[in-house]
Symmetry: C3
Subunit: 426 residues, 3 copies
Amino acid sequence: MGDVNTILEALNTLTVAGNVFFLCVMGALVFIMQLGFAMLECGQVRKKNAVNVIMKNMFDWCIGCVSWLFIGSILCSSINPSDFLDWWIKIVKATPFLENNGIELANWFYGLVFAATAATIVSGGVAERIKFSAYVIISIIITGLLYPLFVYLGPWGASIVPWHDYAGSLVVHGLGGFLALGAIAALGPRIGRFKDGKPIPILGHNIPLAAFGAFILAFGWYGFNIGSALALKDISGLVCATTTLAMAGGAIGALITSKKDPLFMTNGLVAGLVAICSGTDIVSPIAGLIIGLIAGLQVPIVYRFLENRKIDDVCGVVPVHGTAGIVGAILAGIFGMKALGGVGVDPDSVMHIVSNPDIDLLLSQIIGSIFCAFYGIVLGYVVTIAIGFLCNGLRVGREAEIRGLDIVEHNLPAYPEEDTLANRES
Amino acid sequence: MGDVNTILEALNTLTVAGNVFFLCVMGALVFIMQLGFAMLECGQVRKKNAVNVIMKNMFDWCIGCVSWLFIGSILCSSINPSDFLDWWIKIVKATPFLENNGIELANWFYGLVFAATAATIVSGGVAERIKFSAYVIISIIITGLLYPLFVYLGPWGASIVPWHDYAGSLVVHGLGGFLALGAIAALGPRIGRFKDGKPIPILGHNIPLAAFGAFILAFGWYGFNIGSALALKDISGLVCATTTLAMAGGAIGALITSKKDPLFMTNGLVAGLVAICSGTDIVSPIAGLIIGLIAGLQVPIVYRFLENRKIDDVCGVVPVHGTAGIVGAILAGIFGMKALGGVGVDPDSVMHIVSNPDIDLLLSQIIGSIFCAFYGIVLGYVVTIAIGFLCNGLRVGREAEIRGLDIVEHNLPAYPEEDTLANRES
Amino acid sequence: MGDVNTILEALNTLTVAGNVFFLCVMGALVFIMQLGFAMLECGQVRKKNAVNVIMKNMFDWCIGCVSWLFIGSILCSSINPSDFLDWWIKIVKATPFLENNGIELANWFYGLVFAATAATIVSGGVAERIKFSAYVIISIIITGLLYPLFVYLGPWGASIVPWHDYAGSLVVHGLGGFLALGAIAALGPRIGRFKDGKPIPILGHNIPLAAFGAFILAFGWYGFNIGSALALKDISGLVCATTTLAMAGGAIGALITSKKDPLFMTNGLVAGLVAICSGTDIVSPIAGLIIGLIAGLQVPIVYRFLENRKIDDVCGVVPVHGTAGIVGAILAGIFGMKALGGVGVDPDSVMHIVSNPDIDLLLSQIIGSIFCAFYGIVLGYVVTIAIGFLCNGLRVGREAEIRGLDIVEHNLPAYPEEDTLANRES
């Protein structure tokens, strides 16, 4: 029996190390989405705000690491103060994290990159006019409080409001998108964005850069969705395929309703990826394609709907993350049904309303969507307004906004050699 | 014996999950090559066509996913209509893909990213003058028909024409390069590319971007070649090393024959990677370096040879993917010989011609190369001509070509803020 | 017992293949740091030298592969000529590398990407004025001789000077940074960098690009630090977490001392990553954050200190890699102590000085730092001076430097369409 014990030990070592490897690789892929967002957003703003938008992205990642370390990662699963205290005592030492190849911290890291994703979405909506200091505080509150609390309430935490959300169509993207909507409403539109009540498009400065960012996001999304298995043994090729097909569907969908607009196609690709997160593990390949397609189709429509209501969503994060998240969550409830080729879900993982697993799933998805939109919009609005009081105004001054945030906030133009030239033109 | 059965089961679970993990990670790396191509090609075209080239890349990926789902992935291994029907019935459900961690779809994904690579190569050759609608149809035909049929005929499918092609010097890159050659010949050169029979170079707009694209391609190539093991247990460190050395050789080779031209060096690096695909698993490290070097050396020479025949290959995809693919396939037949330090191949995997395994290998590589070039050029030409009839002309009009495809086809300049300025200059 | 043997074999196969997979994925991540450096440096130089800096990066990678193949990889562990001879005979054949999934070459590859990192750091310091030919020779000497010899002397080789350096704060980054300092001192500042003894800042041409490069570096760093386990079974989630936290700390630290400068924040992020390499496996999460913070805080301070001494370090590689490496090594000796929550190290892996493991660790870190700085500065200076004699001068001529290296050395501007415009402006 000695042999058997040796084998069991070796097998266990390999399994644990494999899980850490899995989480680290998948987490690194999700991390690179920070670059994807930075490029996507940078391309969609004007030259004069290009550095500012990157600063916001880099800073929310960095401060997110800190707030996740001290508060966020615990708040996701507990609101008990003693759990926080235990954690703070623990992280002063390295030794508690040596066991099982430090898998506890690998999980911590994988959670962090999700939190940072939720936070960074907001920056794309509020770009080109918000004060850097105000954004910094919003960002700290999101990764330290609003995101973890939402996780706690939802299916990944204490499941007070349960629904099926494999990789976070709502938990991550929907929340980010609706927080952005609340913040945008509190902030108001950029100067010149609306004239006599009509929207005037403000084009970004580098369309190829935005498209490259979308490719990077898609690359990282494989880590986002496949890694959501959390343990190697639960990895799913179905997730890989539905993710891919939803991305394709999203781009094609947005291409159709936008009449071949390259930027909408780019954002549609991302919207398809957002939408599939929820049901990626339970819907068929064909359903993945359809979910992406519908998410893509709605991007230009929702964008224009909001635009007509004077919502100045610079990078379109509300249709791409917010409403696409809801589309995805609800369609997961439809195509996830066994009756429609889906896998169905464990009845205990969703609400018990009518005692029919398929209908309960769908109702849970709808309730989750409403909860997410409500939570995001209200808290996004309230927190932003409150920070406005704290920072003596949310927005940079009129002249500063016209001159651009790069010079005013950071004293560094994005393309220093062009600066003389650019100044002469304007 | 209960213990042993438990262990066997655990071991099997780990092995299957490990394979899915392996295919997903390697496939994600190959996916990012789409970004590499987009950057490499975008940098090599003029500003006025920068969005168009990215739209082509993004679209061929998206439509490739769809055509691969419905047709391509089955056609690679079967021409039996009932296999297609079975597959279409299957993909409406999620449950058939839960077995073995959905490894069937992980393999499907890994096949898809290869098909998309073959398709996207063509866009670099036909850039700056082809109608978007015409390109879209070509792209659908490549991923849905021409590539899978070539796979079916070649060593990865029914092996009707067998040769050794570990990661696809010919199956993927050679095919893409020669399809491009046929399409370019059908399409004709850009306006102003040749004057009084002499070539006038048209420089791209962003050389650093092209170089960054090559680095991304090289990064993805580790997924392309190492992942070609298809199962974790067959992974090969030799593949990793020969891939690396061929990349270095390719860049150095092109640097020499181009007299230190940065863009040729960039493309030479890619050519080295193309060439090593075929024999990466059977040649020595030194041979890998030499294969890359020769592939790099030929890039400027072949490029100029074609240029003198009025072939306007915008991004040099024929020397980089086409002839470099042939160089690699044939050199795999030479350096793969046991007599030259190679591993040799299973005699049953190549043609039986003279009953000497080494000579049979070499002859198979030569015949495969001829087959690939013939198949690619003829079908690339014929299909493109046919699409020209369908689309009422292959090319945008003269004025549109001069103004640039971004405005004419997509109504969006790549760098909107520069547009006024650029217009004034021209 | 048949079953048990079958299991043992299967388990062994999986373990070996898993290690090769681990090394290849982690190595590919480290490889992509080449792109990160290329982008980070390209953004920090002027347009007229953008191609040159990328050529340097691409070339040092390619030539590094070759010199690592023939000399470097052996020199790291042996100075015995017969070991070189054996290796040269071995690499002519493929068969010696089939055993154990070619893990020997996977390790070779993982070593190579580290060597290439050390070499490419230097290019950021000597940019915008060094002759391409001179740089090429320096680069060959670094990857073929200076880096491997330093590895041999230090803790990764024969441990003649031992200290704790898990992922190479000193072995890789410190060495690169101090070699750069020696080379910069030998080379002298760019024209116009100092006027009447006062530093005149020369801004780069693309700040967003530099920031994107830093994100790519950070992404690759997960491969750099996590992969340093070298075998899957030794992977550590602690490494993943401390790496992440040091990155965040570094960016925040530099933001503070630079008064919110975006470029210093970007470089501070990298400095945090440099500093954590040494003790990433033995310090607590909190310590990781502090190490990064201190490394970030010192970047602007050291940069200005050197600037005031007329050291023209174009991309700030001395503070980012050199002194940050020392900060990291020494703080690893402090926070790695068991008394301060660290794991401590095997007393046999560091020097025996006072027979207190904690104090011995700290002293070893200090001695290693001094050794690294001395080795780097002296050899960097001497080799650069010597190459100056060999190349008939280290620098391009005055006119060439003013016109830019892209045209003069490579006959290709980075942004060809802007060239007419740019010429007119200057």
